[in-house]
C-alpha cells in the first residue's frame, strides 16, 4: 500500500487514579516521570523518523490521561513532531482529557501548542454510575470543562459515554445521551463496557457485588442511542462513533481504513511499512530502552517490544474487520480485488452468502457494508472473515 500521509498516536501512560473497569496501559504512581517522558517521546520520534520528514496529517494524544501533561511538555512534543515530520498545516491534533484535570489557563495554553481537538471521557451523567466506574469527576465538571474549551476556541470536541454498565437502565442511559447532546459536541463515541480480566470490576462480578450486564439491555441502549443521535443530525459513521457532518475523527479513520500510523510511547501500537508493532509497556523500561543505540530503522525504535511483518492473510483479515466498521463507507470491493488479486466473493464464498442470508451484510454501489442488524452483531461477521494462517 502506498503511504501517502501518516497518523501519529502518542501514548501518555499516567493517571491519578485507576478507574474500576480500566485495563489500559496506565500507571498511577509514575507522575514524576511526565517531563522526562515528554522528552523521551521526542527522542523516539528522532529514532523512528531519521531524516525523512514524512508527511503527517493527524496526531492523537491517548492515554492514560494526556491532560495531566503540562502545556510546556505538550508543546515540546509537538515541536518534536514538526522537526521530525512534515506536519500538515490543517492537521487534526486531538488530546484526550479528563474533565476534572483542566482549567481555563491550562486549556488556553494547550490551544496554543497546536492541539485543536479534544476528547473528554464523560462516560455517564449519573452519579451512581460514575461512582461505580470510579471516575473522579461529576457531570457539573464536564459542563464547566466544555464551556472553557469553547471559550478558548476548542469547539471541536468528542464526548465518550459508556453503556452496558451494571445497574444502568434504559432510562438512565437515555438521560446520559440527552444530557450530553445539550452540550452540542461535534463527535460522540459510545462504548459498551467490557469487563476485563484483572480489573476491580471483574472481581466485583465474581464475588457477586455487581450483576453481569444484560446483553439484551445493552442492545436496547445501543438502539436507542442510534435513534436519538440520528434525530440530532449526527452521522453514524463507525460502529461506536457518531459525528456532525464533516467532523469525523480523521485519526480514527486511519485505523478503520487499515492505514499507516506510528505508535509512540509506552505500550503504543503502530502499523507502517507493512509491519505491525508494539512498544514496551512499562514507562521506566521505555525510558531505559530509548537510551540504547542502533535503532532497527523505520518504523521501529529501540523501545519496540514486538513486531511482525503483515502477511497477505493477516492483511486481508485486518482489512475486512477494519473497513467494515465504517458503516457508510464499507469496503470497496474493486479496491480490495486490486490490492489482493482476488475478490471478496472468491475468498469468502460460502461465508458471504450465509452472512447475506442472515441479513448481516449487504452490497451497494460496489461496496460491502454491515446492515443495521449487522451493526449490532459485527463480531459475528468479523470472526467469520478471519482467515486461518496457511
Amino acid at each position: 500500500m502506498i503511504e501517502t500521509s501518516l497518523s501519529l498516536y502518542l501514548h501518555i501512560p499516567f493517571c491519578k487514579h485507576r478507574c474500576a473497569y480500566c485495563d489500559f496501559n496506565t500507571y498511577t504512581s509514575l507522575l514524576d516521570l511526565r517531563e522526562v517522558y515528554a522528552d523521551a517521546l521526542v527522542a523516539e520520534m528522532a529514532q523512528v523518523a531519521g531524516d525523512a520528514r514524512r508527511p503527517v496529517h493527524t496526531i492523537f494524544f491517548g492515554g492514560g490521561t494526556p491532560s495531566l501533561m503540562s502545556p510546556a511538555a505538550l508543546g515540546r512534543i509537538l515541536d518534536g513532531v514538526r522537526t521530525h515530520f512534515a506536519l500538515a498545516p490543517d492537521a487534526e491534533v486531538t488530546m484526550e482529557a479528563n474533565p476534572g484535570t483542566v482549567d481555563l489557563e491550562y486549556l488556553t495554553a494547550v490551544s496554543q501548542t497546536g492541539i485543536n481537538r479534544l476528547s473528554f471521557g464523560v462516560q455517564s451523567v449519573v452519579p451512581s454510575e460514575l461512582a461505580l466506574l470510579e471516575r473522579e469527576h461529576d457531570f457539573a465538571t464536564v459542563v464547566e470543562a466544555v464551556q472553557m474549551a469553547r471559550q478558548v476556541g476548542l469547539d471541536n470536541f468528542n464526548l465518550d459515554l459508556i453503556y452496558g454498565v451494571p445497574g444502568q437502565t434504559l432510562a438512565s442511559w437515555a438521560q446520559s445521551v440527552r444530557t450530553v447532546l445539550d452540550l452540542d459536541p461535534t463527535h460522540l463515541s459510545l462504548y459498551c463496557l467490557t469487563i476485563e480480566p484483572g480489573t476491580p470490576m471483574q472481581r466485583w462480578l465474581l464475588n457477586g457485588r455487581i450483576q453481569p450486564p444484560d446483553p439484551d439491555l445493552a442492545a436496547d441502549q445501543y438502539e436507542l442511542a442510534c435513534t436519538l443521535l440520528a434525530e440530532h443530525g449526527y452521522d453514524h459513521y463507525e460502529i461506536s462513533n457518531w459525528a456532525k457532518p464533516g467532523r469525523e475523527c480523521e485519526h480514527n479513520l486511519t485505523y478503520w481504513r487499515n492505514g499507516a500510523y506510528l505508535g509512540l510511547g509506552a505500550g503504543a501500537h503502530g502499523h507502517a511499512a507493512g509491519v505491525r508493532y508494539q512498544i514496551v509497556k512499562q514507562p521506566r523500561v521505555y525510558l531505559r530502552r530509548l537510551q540504547e543505540s542502533s535503532a532497527p530503522g523505520y518504523p521501529l525504535s529501540t523501545a519496540v517490544a514486538a513486531s511482525h511483518p503483515v502477511n497477505r492473510t493477516e492483511a486481508i483479515s485486518d482489512t475486512m474487520m477494519t473497513q467494515l466498521r465504517l458503516l457508510n463507507e464499507g469496503l470497496d470491493l474493486a479496491a480490495f480485488q486490486a490490492q489482493f488479486g482476488q475478490s471478496v466473493a472468491e475468498i469468502y464464498n460460502g461465508t458471504l452468502d450465509q452472512l447475506v442470508d442472515w441479513g448481516l451484510v449487504g452490497v451497494e454501489n460496489g461496496r460491502l457494508h454491515l446492515t443495521q442488524k449487522g451493526w449490532f452483531l459485527s463480531n459475528q461477521v468479523f470472526y467469520r472473515f478471519m482467515l486461518d494462517e496457511a
Partner: protein, 601 residues
Amino acid sequence: MTQSNIRNFCIIAHIDHGKSTLADRLLQETGTITEREMQEQVLDSMDLEREKGVTIKASAVRMKYTAKDGEEYIMNLIDTPGHVDFGYEVSRALLGCEGALLVVDATQGIEAQTLANLYLALDADLEIIPVVNKIDLPAAMPEDVAEEVENIIGLPAEDVIPISAKTGQNIGAVLEAIVKRVPPPTIDYEAPLRALVFDSHYDSYKGVIAYVRVFEGKLNKRQWVQMMSNEVTAEPIEIGVFAPAMKPVDTLSAGEVGYIATGLKTVRECRVGDTITLREYPAKKPLPGYQAVKPMVFAGFYPTEGEDYSLLKEALERLQLNDAALVFEQETSDALNFGFRCGFLGLFHMEIIQERLEREYDLDLIATAPSVRYEVKMAHTGEEIVIDSPADLPDDGNFEEIREPWMHVQIFTPDEYYGVVMDLVIKRRGEFVGQEYPAPGRVVLKFDIPLAEIIIDFYDKLKSGTRGYASMDYETAGYRASDLVKLEVLVNKAPVDALAMIVHRDMAYHRGQKLVTALKNKIPRQMFEVPIQAATGKRVISRATVKAMRKDVLAKCYGGDITRKRKLLEKQKKGKKRMKMIGTVEVPQEAFMAVLSLNDD
C-alpha cells in the same frame, strides 16, 4: 526358603484411609526400596491413579523380612483397586492371599468400603489383621475405633494395631503380625498347575503379563501354559516375581506370587479371575469363581473433529489391550457422526477412560450422557433385544416389556442424615430394604435402586447432602421390568439422537423440563431463535427457547491495537470450531452432558 516362610497378604481400606501410604512404609521398612527410590506411593503408578488417589489396577510386590524369630520371610503384598467399580477385581486379588490388613482411619472410623471389602475378605477366608491408622493426628480416636472394630467386625479390640503410616510408628508390629497371624499358603507341588490371574497388563515386548498367585503345582519357565476358560495356550516368554521390579525366575511354585509373560496379544485372552494351568499336564478344574466382567455403563464417545475418528479407534484399541472390562463398537449418530458406543464397569471407570483418551492421546471428545443396558421384549414377534443406546429404544407401543438393571446399595452414614439419604433414594425410585445400627450414631441403609438412577449425579448428591460423611457400596441385583419411555430432545425442531434418554414414565415430564432448561443455558444464542423441546412418543412435553443473539460488538479500539482485536476474533472463531453443528445450530460439547447436571429439587 521353605513355603512355610511365605506370607501372601493384601491391604483393604476405605478410600483415603491410608492403604497406599502403609504399603510405602512396608516397602521401606523391609528395605525393598530405599528412601531414594521411594517415589511417593509406588504402587499407584499411573499418573491418573496418583491424581485421583485411587488405585485402578491391582499390582503386587515381593518383600523380604527378617522377623524377630530370626527367620527370613517372603511377603507378597497384593494391592487391590480402590473403587467399587472394580469390586470383582478386588475379589480376585483377595483370593490370591491368606491374610488382609484391614486399615481404618482413626479419625473416621469404619465406612462403607471398609465393610464391603471386609465381607469380600471374609468370603475369601482370609485372616484379618485390623489396623487403626493416622494415630499421629490430634483428632485420632484409636480406642473408639478399636471398639467399633470389635462391635461391627467382631475382632477383639486388643488385637487392633494402632499405627501411623505417615510417621512409620508401629510399622514393625504390623510386619510381626503378618508373620504370626497370616497362615502360610497350603501347598501341593505335585498337583497340576493352578495359578489364579488376579491382574494383567499389556507390554509391547512381552505381550500380556499375567499377575498370578500359584495355588498348586509348579511352573517351569520353558513349559507351555493354558488358560482354562478359553483354552488359549501360550509359551511364556518369561516368568518371574515382583521385587518390586519384575525379576525373572526359573520356576514359580505353589504358594508364590509372580508373573507370567504370556506373549498373548490382548488382555481379553487372559482375563482376571481365570486359572492358568499347564498345556501338557492340565488341571481338571479351574479355581472357583471366574466370571467375565460385564460392562454396566455405556456412553457414546465422538471425536470433536471428524478426522480424529481413526485416532480415537486406535486409542481405544490400545487402552483395551490393558483393560478387559472396556468394550466398544462403532456407532453413528445423526448429530455427532462417527464414534463409538463404549461400555464401562461404572461411571468412575468411564471417567478414567475419558481422561486418558484426552490426556494421553490428546483427543478432543464429546461424550454423551452415560446410560445402562436395557433388555427389551418386542411386541409382535416376542423377540428379545438388548439396547445400549437410548436412541435405539423402539417407540412406545412397539415393545411389550422393557427391563433395566437394578443394584443392591448400602449406604453408611451418621444417623442425623437418615432423612436426607432416604429422600434422595426415594426420589430416584429406590426401594428400601433394611437398616442396621452397627455403632451408636451410625446407620447402614440398604436399598435396591435402578442403576440408571445412580450413574447420574447420585454419588455427588449423596456426598453433598451428608457433608461428605456418607459412603456407599453397591453390587448388581439383576434386571427388573419397569415402565420406561424414551425422552427425545429436539433442537430447532430436529430430534438429536445423542441427547435421547430413557426415563421412567412418571418422571418424564420433570426430567424433560430440567433437560430443556439445562440445554437452554448451555447452548449459546445464535443468529436466529432456537426452540428446544423434549418429547415422549410424538408428544412434546416441555420446551424452552434460546433467543436470537442481538448484540455482539467489540468495544473501544484502544490506541490502534488492531492486533488485539484480531486475536479476540480469532479466539471466538476457534471456540466456534469446537462446537458441533446440529443442522444450523452450533452446540457446545458440554451440552451433550447436560443430563448430568439435572437436579432433583
